[in-house]
């Protein structure tokens, strides 16, 4: 049975606040999927249009050919309207706080228990004033330029529980993101670059009164930059693009406490960092997105942008990512088909999600067709977002195929049920 740490008092107040943001702060988890990259394949509309310097409301547009500099570009880009740091991962306990994986697997205190987690830190910039300097100086303790919103979810696969928490704060003493390195802090939760050399990161979060995690994440594969010339297209509008950086494979180690019981855990994680000022097009009804980590070291990112008429947008993509960071992308067609083969209906919202998925594609290593089947490791992984009166599915899945490919994935399903697609992302 799922338990939620969200106070019954919170939803209406938080929802009200987020609606006031008015910038598309809805369906927060969904934004993390947004690699609308043309990547290695040609653009959907042939000759790319000129990229404007700014959006209609004055925010800068990510420009092709931008040279990234790290660790600075792991940090925040507050001039842009929207930015997020999205992490999902699959953990396994190694037993108690001192055991080893081998000894712990059969230990009575829970060694070998499986978990999934999602943590997304969002930053939103407020509307720009019509005239510069018309705003008073921001209060360093309680700013009025940026708002941070964070979603945290933990799937206790063996315990059959899905824990989640959310919070929102303005920039200031309790929420901030450094601009020179990766150091995001929101209330008691944080993500920070601990070692610039290895790009090792530390993540701290909690999902309730006695459930929390302290994890170390170390990249095992190179950082991937999606999109043409370093920008990822999101639609036909030339301003709808982002800087999109992904660590497809992070080794995770740390401690996880669930309902007061602390365990040493290890596993693998995926991290996206995306910066933009304008997101989706007007004709989208929702999307299905996944990040797959195969046991052979390769990864896939695949998404279908669902249009109102039910057809997939031409900006939908499937991207194979090699252990060396190489990318092979397919557009919807013979080499990329996404089919929902079973669904789960939420007892909380009544929304039905096609949470068991088959993805048909072509393996770039063999050139042979491959059919990947994603199956949720826990049925109830619905994120009910009290901030936006929205719900979406963000669930840990197992991956298998007749050809023997196996792995783990996170599946994101947005725009189902009465909630629809958050318009603010358009």
């Amino acid at each position: 049975m799922m338990t939620s740490p969200v106070s019954p008092h919170q939803p209406s107040r938080l929802r009200r606040t987020l609606r006031h943001l008015g910038t598309g702060a809805l369906a927060l988890g969904t934004m993390a999927m947004g690699t609308f990259a043309a990547t290695a394949s040609p653009g959907a509309s042939g000759e790319p249009p000129a990229v404007p310097a700014r959006t209609d409301d004055g925010f800068p547009v990510p420009q092709p050919g931008t040279a990234f500099s790290f660790p600075r570009d792991h940090g925040s880009h507050p001039d842009y309207r929207i930015e997020w740091w999205y992490l999902t991962g699959h953990l396994e306990s190694v037993g108690g706080t001192t055991g080893t994986p081998e000894s712990a697997r059969n230990s009575p205190d829970g060694g070998g228990r499986s978990y999934g987690f999602q943590v997304t830190f969002f930053r939103y910039a407020g509307p720009l004033p019509e005239e510069e300097d018309s705003l008073p100086a921001a209060d360093p303790l309680a700013g009025d330029r940026q708002i941070f919103s964070t979603h945290v979810a933990l799937a206790d696969i063996d315990g059959g529980q899905f824990l989640q928490a959310h919070r929102m704060d303005r920039e200031g003493w309790n929420a901030a993101a450094a601009t020179d390195t990766l150091a995001v802090r929101h209330g008691p939760w944080s993500l920070a670059l601990a070692d610039p050399e290895t790009e090792r990161m530390e993540l701290v979060f909690s999902t309730g009164p006695d459930s929390h995690a302290r994890l170390t994440l170390t990249p095992q594969q190179p950082l991937v930059v999606f999109g043409e010339d370093g920008t990822s297209r999101k639609g036909s509008d030339p301003a709808a693009r982002s800087y999109y950086l992904t660590f497809p494979r992070l080794e995770v180690a740390g401690t996880l406490t669930v309902h007061g019981k602390e365990r040493i855990v290890s596993g693998s994680a995926w991290m996206d960092h995306e910066v933009s000022s304008q997101q989706l097009g007007d004709d989208l009804a929702g999307w299905d997105w996944t990040a797959i980590q195969l046991e052979d070291g390769r990864s896939l990112k695949a998404y279908i942008l669902r249009r109102e008429d039910g057809t997939p947008s031409p900006f939908s993509r499937l991207v194979w990512i090699g252990p060396d960071g190489s990318q092979t992308a397919f557009r919807p067609g013979p080499d990329f088909q996404w089919t929902g083969i079973d669904s789960w209906t939420s007892p909380h919202t009544g929304t039905s999600y096609p949470s068991t998925v088959r993805i048909d594609t072509r393996d770039p290593a063999t050139g042979q067709p491959v059919s990947l089947r994603l199956h949720p490791r826990l049925d109830d992984q619905e994120v009910r977002d009290p901030l936006a009166d929205n719900a979406y599915y963000e669930g840990a899945c197992s991956v298998s195929s007749p050809s023997g490919l196996r792995g783990l994935a996170y599946l994101e399903l947005v725009g189902y049920g009465p909630h629809g697609l958050p318009g603010g992302l358009r």
């Binding site: 008092h9 006031h20 209330g187």
Partner: protein, 877 residues
């Protein structure tokens, strides 16, 4: 003897039961009387109501003051918080981070708050406002529902969140503020803060508090950034740690967090749990509530006195009826039952009137209470007093019980006196046996003297209950009553024999020589009321004399510089003091910083002053003269001068040591001297300013005194123009302000004094009317003996004045004793203050003369009123 049935009863085919018979009798006698004499009945009900209402109003006002104080904290913080305060200065972003890191991943929300004072501007300027700055976004992560901060408008409404956050003028006001100022959302409203006017935009009216928590009537909520900007705060004033109250281990978590935060903050942070906050509030009001308690009890006595007189009057007025009933065969027991029924009906009506009067009165008294509490402590919400079930029960007990008790003795006399004697309107035989035992009174007075040696009882909140003082007060009140009642006859006997006195006076004293129980009751009541009223006068006079002397010593400088209570800077900047020191007219500037710090589980005021200079420039009222600095022990970090309250509360005086927890670590202070200081009742610990600044991060001075060069003009307007957020006051202005504040603290005492005097006058008039009405037969005898009306009037005036004189003389003695008790025992044990004992002799003499003159006047008026009634042609009509 068995009573014969009444004629109408024998005619009944089926004899009614005792209850029905009693009811029928009551209708035929008492109800008929009430119809025939409506004004008498109404007067009796009014007297009962006044007695009940007086007591209730003070009780209700007391409760309203206390709950109002507690409610303020609840409304602002909710009830599930750990409060972190700083001894001095504001919390910086770094400190907020330390608090957040200490709380860590545990389910608690860190909520920073800014608080400040402001005042209304515009058409009704100067009304105090309390500004509260809270992060409108962050507060929504709070796990509790009873914080009143859900202020954002519904989705889609303009202005949106960004507009509100960026508009530093957005404000939400308490319903009372909206009503008083005529505000509605969207309107612009001007307030005054930090010496400047600020235009705010009213975004909404604060919702009523949840969970019984009321919104303080003068509250104005701003976004944290707006409040910091408006109040010019460098950080935040206070941090609340909100713990979800629904957590099963919420209480334990609060305790753990409080302990950890106290450890992290060192001496710089004061961490309070909810219970401790209430205890702090209770401590702050404990002494004040004790004073209200004693006033309530005295009011109870006065109420009983009024009820007794009223009932006595009722019995006397209907003595003929009692005699007739006795003649018709009713037994004394039946008459007592009939009258018990009658009195119960009157008492119920009187109680109802008392409840109404009490409620109305409490609304008036509560304002005085609120003003007193505000002046002494802080803003409260003591704006209304609610009638509770307990009040109704108390009113019934007082009205019904007091009425029956008070009427019992006169009724017993009337019912048991033979009918012929009753009908003859002769005097009752003395029935109040207790009032004829002056020896017992003497024992009680001695007992009161003996218990004075008892120490005060310490209360949990850190106050002390002066049990000896109160025990002695009541022993003296009761004992004095018996003594005074007992000396009426001996005094009258002595005076009546004096041939040198005019015959009319001698005749008057002869009447008093045979004083009845009613005379004694009248004297006793007048004695209590006079003693209470006069002692209050002495108390207030003594306090005022003390304060004036202290102010004369305390305020010796030419100009005083401080931050105003409302609408100004939070303190005096260092730069201002430095600038003033450089002015040619200025001989010396002596700044001081003061702030509350925890010490041994209580709170004291820690102060820093430039001590060597201060001793040179100013004089002090020393309780214990300063020891030389050479006597300071080597292990002491600095010296301290404490006030009398500190010595009393902490039991530490000259030569003792006190260890303070400071951000720089523990610091030991050696107590060098004890001085008189009536500025606070929590205890003052004053040390060298330089030492204080090296231990605490002090952002500004609290105030400063300026000594100017002799004869040099003081360019006050120039200074005021330069430092607009600060308050410069000349010596005279400050003394006047201080005296006004101290005067306000005794508003309620003065109200009680007036009430006591009013009761004294009314009671005397009522008692004399009763006595003279009872004694109409003897007046007729005097007339038959040839005394003219003028001489009869003189006789009765002498009787009235004699009664009043005995009561007033006794009351004077009682007031001197009670005032001494209040000043030397109760006040010292409650507040730790030594006051001067000052007699407002002229005022007291005038009051005494007025009471005696009233006695004479009432006697004279009674003689006139009975003249018409007692004409031979219409005897006893």
């Amino acid at each position: 003897m068995r009573a014969r049935p009444l004629p109408h009863a024998s005619a009944s085919p089926a004899p009614p039961g005792p209850a029905r018979r009693l009811g029928a009798l009551w209708r035929k006698t008492s109800l008929r009387h009430a119809r025939n004499q409506p004004w008498q009945t109404l007067a009796l009900v009014a007297i009962l109501g006044l007695g009940v209402g007086g007591f209730l109003s003070i009780q209700m006002a007391n409760r309203a003051a206390v709950t109002g104080f507690e409610g303020f904290t609840d409304a602002v913080t909710g009830r599930s918080t750990v409060t972190v305060e700083k001894a001095v200065g504001a919390f910086s972003a770094g400190e907020l981070g330390r608090i957040r890191d200490t709380v860590g991943l545990r389910p608690a929300e860190v909520v920073p708050l800014v608080e400040g004072e402001a005042a209304t501007a515009g058409t009704d300027p100067g009304r105090p406002l309390r500004l509260l700055g809270v992060d409108l976004v962050g507060i929504q992560n709070a796990p509790v529902a009873d914080s009143s901060a859900d202020l954002l408008p519904p989705p889609g409404e303009e202005p949106g969140l960004w507009s509100i956050l960026r508009d530093r003028r957005s404000a939400w006001v308490a319903p009372e503020v909206a009503r008083r100022e005529g505000l509605s959302p969207g309107e612009t409203w001007t307030i005054r803060a930090r010496g400047e006017e600020h235009a705010l935009t009213v975004r909404g009216v604060l919702p009523p508090g949840e969970g019984g928590v009321s919104v303080p009537p003068n509250l104005v909520v701003l976004d944290l950034a707006a409040a910091r900007s408006l109040l010019d705060r460098g950080g935040v004033d206070r941090v609340e740690i909100l713990v979800d109250p629904e957590l099963p281990d919420a209480e334990a978590l609060r305790r753990i967090l409080a302990e950890e935060l106290a450890g992290v903050g060192g001496g710089a942070w004061q961490v309070l749990l909810p219970g401790q906050q209430q205890a702090a509030g209770a401590q702050m009001t404990a002494a004040f509530r004790l004073n209200l308690l004693i006033l309530s009890l005295i009011a109870l006595l006065v109420g009983l006195y009024l009820i007794a007189l009223g009932m006595d009057a009722a019995v006397v007025k209907r003595r003929r009826e009692i005699g007739i009933l006795r003649s018709l065969g009713l037994t004394a027991g039946e008459i007592r039952k009939l009258w018990a029924l009658d009195i119960a009906a009157l008492a119920l009506a009187g109680t109802a009137a008392g409840l109404v009067l009490g409620s109305l009165g409490s609304q008036l008294v509560v304002r005085a209470v609120a003003r007193t509490v505000n002046t002494l402590y802080l803003e409260t919400t003591a704006a209304s007093a609610q009638l509770q079930a307990g009040d109704v029960a108390m009113a019934l007990l007082l009205g019904l019980g007091g009425g029956l008790l008070a009427a019992w003795l006169p009724l017993r006399d009337a019912a048991s006196t033979p009918p012929a004697q009753v009908l003859s309107a002769g005097r009752f035989r003395p029935g109040l046996g207790l009032l004829r035992r002056p020896g017992l009174g003497l024992v009680l007075v001695v007992f009161g003297l003996a218990v004075l040696w008892l120490p005060p009882v310490p209360l949990p909140a850190g106050s002390r209950f002066p049990v000896a003082g109160y025990a002695a007060a009541f022993a003296w009140l009761i004992g004095g009553t018996l003594l005074v009642a007992g000396i009426v006859r001996p005094v009258a006997r002595a005076l009546a024999g004096r041939r040198s006195l005019p015959p009319a006076l001698r005749h008057g004293f002869q009447r008093l020589r045979a004083a009845s129980s009613r005379h004694r009751l009248a004297v006793a009541g007048l004695f209590v009321a006079t003693g209470m009223a006069l002692s209050m006068g002495i108390m207030v006079g003594s306090f005022e004399s003390t304060v004036v002397r202290w102010l004369n010593v305390r305020f010796q400088a030419d100009v005083y510089l401080s931050a105003p209570d409302a609408g100004g800077q939070p303190g005096v900047p260092f730069a201002t003091v430095e600038w003033l020191e450089a002015q040619p007219e200025v001989r010396a500037v002596l700044p001081s910083a003061r702030f509350p710090v925890p010490l041994e589980g209580r709170t004291v005021l820690l102060a820093g002053a430039r001590y060597p200079d201060l001793l040179e420039e100013e004089e002090f009222l020393w309780i214990e003269e300063p020891l030389p600095l050479s006597a300071q022990p080597a292990d002491a970090d600095s010296f301290a001068v404490v006030n009398e309250t500190f010595r009393y509360r902490f039991g530490k005086g000259q030569g003792d040591r006190v260890t303070l927890t400071t951000p720089a670590g523990p610091r030991t202070l050696w107590i060098r001297a004890v001085k008189a200081d009536y500025g606070n009742d929590r205890g003052l610990l004053e040390t060298d300013l330089r030492a204080l600044r090296s231990w605490f991060d002090i952002p500004f001075y609290t105030n400063a005194v300026i000594h100017t060069e002799p004869g040099a003009p003081i360019p006050l307007e120039t200074w005021r123009a330069r430092e607009t957020g600060l308050q410069f006051l000349r010596q005279g202005e400050l003394r006047a302000t201080a005296l006004r504040i101290f005067g306000e603290t005794f508003t309620i005492a003065q109200a009680i004094q007036v009430l006591g005097l009013g009761v004294a006058f009314a009671g005397l008039a009522l008692a004399l009317l009763t006595i003279i009405r009872e004694d109409a037969a003897s007046l007729r005898t005097l007339r038959c003996l040839g005394l003219d009306e003028r001489r009869i009037a003189k006789v009765l005036a002498t009787e009235g004045a004699g009664l009043a004189a005995v009561a007033v003389l006794g009351g004077l003695v009682l007031s001197l004793a009670l005032a001494a008790l209040l000043i030397f025992v109760i006040n010292r044990q409650s507040f730790g203050w030594t006051l001067l004992y000052r007699l407002p002799a002229t005022e007291m003499a005038l009051q005494a003369v007025a009471i005696v003159a009233t006695g004479a006047l009432v006697g004279w008026l009674c003689a006139r009123s009975t003249r018409a009634r007692d004409r031979p042609s219409s005897p006893d009509s």
